[in-house]
Symmetry: C2
Subunit: 404 residues, 2 copies
């Protein structure tokens, strides 16, 4: 990048929805994605929800010619589902695990098992920090129990970007953020990092109305979820910013429109986002663009802190009730042990309970004890992490208020 | 720091061993630590194993006068035990959780519950990145089952430092690394980050022989653990390096010698480490000191990768055997269900088992199924993380070999 006046960078981002045995027409779609990527020859490809390492390996083999560098992020029980293909060398990768990521007992939502992580560096001679990521899904917008977790993730992601991006020239973030453009998490992430939204900045736009990436025209989307949003919603983003002596301009943003170009099926239940960026070296360093002195930032952080505080209250209540349940189960077990000992010692004239029911009750109490203790430990961790985030936000608010 | 020619920085580091109900004479020792810190007036204090938030709050109140800035890192079930007191403003903090930290079922070792984290920025006008941390303990040196986990932690710590330190002027790391100075983890951390060991660099030294921080003279240390090391061992470190246009020189390193100065009891079962650093601005930027082109570095990374590979083999074996156990338990349950259904349908002439044993066996099978499934999931995550680290190390090795 050093010698060239302008670098034109084409980026492809897609949530691939490639879950083995569950996603419809998975193999066909992965093949289609691979073919398109090979034909189009992007510079950087950020994919999410490639849950099977076999699918990744297949893509890697197919794309070896035009994207010689790639990385798959391993984490969690199932994996992170995140991978990156690049025309430029990937110099280094770093894994950052969010401290909160849903609840292990919400099996139907599954986020906990995936340990979602951002983090990859693709080098373009001068360093370019690129992140591929996915935040916790929103399963019910009206009563969103995961909002505090998603806010903690947005905050940790913002902190991660602030702390790791200082030596980069350009920061790029692409992924399924599971948040609408006006949501507090997006405003927090953008405000606290200074990242710009490619959709809002693009000189030329082509695709679904309002840049939506979850649209009713896509045959795989859940139509009932989109009932309140007849045009669809935008939850997949490409965000960027220049750090040191560079400027970035978004020339073009395109999305697919319910089906892959020239085909009868879409790539995924999400639409793909494709942008073209112009990166140019400036005469003088742009100075610190990290701390955006936006007066609205304090309001956003305050709003986020209030939500995290509400989550903290809920987590404390759950910790308390699971702890109480564990104590009750323990008491029942002790009572049974005392009764059994009493019977053995011949204190009671006859056995007070039939053996089977007595035994069943003991096992039930033991099961409840184990489960409730596990839940108590989990919610204790949740309380610590939410409390820690609240503290960090408070520290930032104080610094923002002290700044002129 | 900008205007001054030299900054003299005094740092105190101690593993406080302050576990409620378990550590001997805890309250007395925490009081003593607080008194000493107040008298001595260090610039930066890095404490580990302050497990009770009450102890932290007590110290915070006591030290508010001379250390107006402090931070306690919340994480895990119990907490991280890490805190920082500073004479200079703490600008920002970041939490990084290691992806592996022991086994949840090794209750007697407890590391898993603590989620150890480094990460704190103490600002000295120009940024100073300071980290307080503790790595996974070594419980048995000869047959060290935790070595791969500790190596993953050392690696992640090194990566974390490389990625976050670029905008800092000076990086400081203090803590209980649970590794001897010649161990592969320490060599990896130092080699890959370029951090220098204050003990090796100090112009003036005073304290236990060889800078040991776990010594037989300390009345709280476990004497049997120290039998093979009659002089003691050094596992608490202060490491540092200058990043941009600064130089750092270690003027002095002191350790306590089995008891607190002028008292009859020690601060902790570990000795405190105190250093005085001289930080000076250079005329020209020192250039990139991150990638140390040490030819021995490739050997260290190879050695570490071999150990991580051995850990990966072991984790795969454990994943396989726990998976097999879960399948066997499931088969037994299915068999029992079939037998019970058969009896209900009147297929058998009489009941083949006494009800109680039948019921007990079913519960046992269920218990084994739940436990084995949990273990299988845990070891699956372990395999993913070890495999990911092995991959990262390979990427680095390739880059090291390609470099001239």
């Amino acid at each position: 990048m050093e010698g060239e006046p302008t670098l034109r960078l084409r980026i492809f981002d897609l949530n691939c929805w490639a879950i083995r045995y569950l996603s419809k027409r998975r193999q066909e779609r992965v093949r289609l994605i691979g073919d398109t990527l090979r034909q189009e020859g992007f510079d950087l490809v950020l994919l999410q929800e490639v849950w099977s390492e076999q699918d990744y390996s297949g893509l890697k083999v197919k794309l070896a010619g035009c994207y010689p560098f790639s990385h798959y992020f391993r984490s969690g029980v199932i994996g992170s589902g995140l991978c990156v293909f690049s025309r430029f060398p990937i110099l280094d990768t770093l894994l950052y695990q969010y401290s909160l990521n849903g609840y292990p007992y919400m099996l139907q939502h599954g986020d906990w098992f995936c340990g979602k992580v951002p983090g990859s560096r693709a080098g373009v001679t001068a360093p370019l920090l690129s992140l591929s990521l996915q935040l916790h899904a929103e399963y019910c917008r009206d009563k969103d129990a995961y909002l505090p977790h998603r806010l903690v993730q947005a905050w940790e992601l913002a902190q991660f970007i602030r702390h790791t991006s200082k030596a980069a020239d350009v920061v790029l973030l692409g992924g399924d953020l599971n948040m609408h453009p006006e949501d507090v998490g997006i405003r927090l992430l953008r405000g606290w990092t200074g990242l710009r939204d490619a959709f809002a900045e693009a000189t030329h736009f082509e695709g679904c109305k309002n840049g939506c990436t979850l649209v009713p025209d896509n045959c795989f989307t859940d139509k009932s979820e989109l009932l309140p949003f007849p045009l669809g919603i935008r939850i997949d983003y490409i965000l960027y910013k220049a750090i040191s002596s560079f400027t970035v301009r978004c020339e073009e943003l395109k999305t697919t429109t319910g089906r892959a170009p020239g085909m009868d099926i879409p790539f995924s239940d999400h639409e793909a986002v494709m942008v073209t960026l112009h990166i140019q070296r400036q005469g003088q360093p742009a100075g610190a663009t990290l701390g955006t002195a936006d007066p609205a930032l304090a309001d956003v952080v305050t709003e986020a802190r209030t939500e995290v505080g509400a989550g903290l209250q809920a987590a404390r209540r759950q910790r308390y009730s699971s702890g109480r349940m564990a104590v009750l189960a323990l008491l029942l077990l002790l009572l049974q042990a005392a009764a059994a000992l009493g019977t053995l010692a011949g204190l009671g004239a006859e056995q007070p309970f039939p053996k089977l029911s007595f035994c069943l009750l003991a096992f039930l109490a033991l099961g409840v004890l184990v489960l409730a203790t596990g839940l108590h430990l989990f919610h204790t961790m949740e309380v610590k992490m939410l409390h820690g985030t609240e503290d960090q936000m408070w520290m930032v608010l104080r610094a923002l208020q002290e700044r002129p």
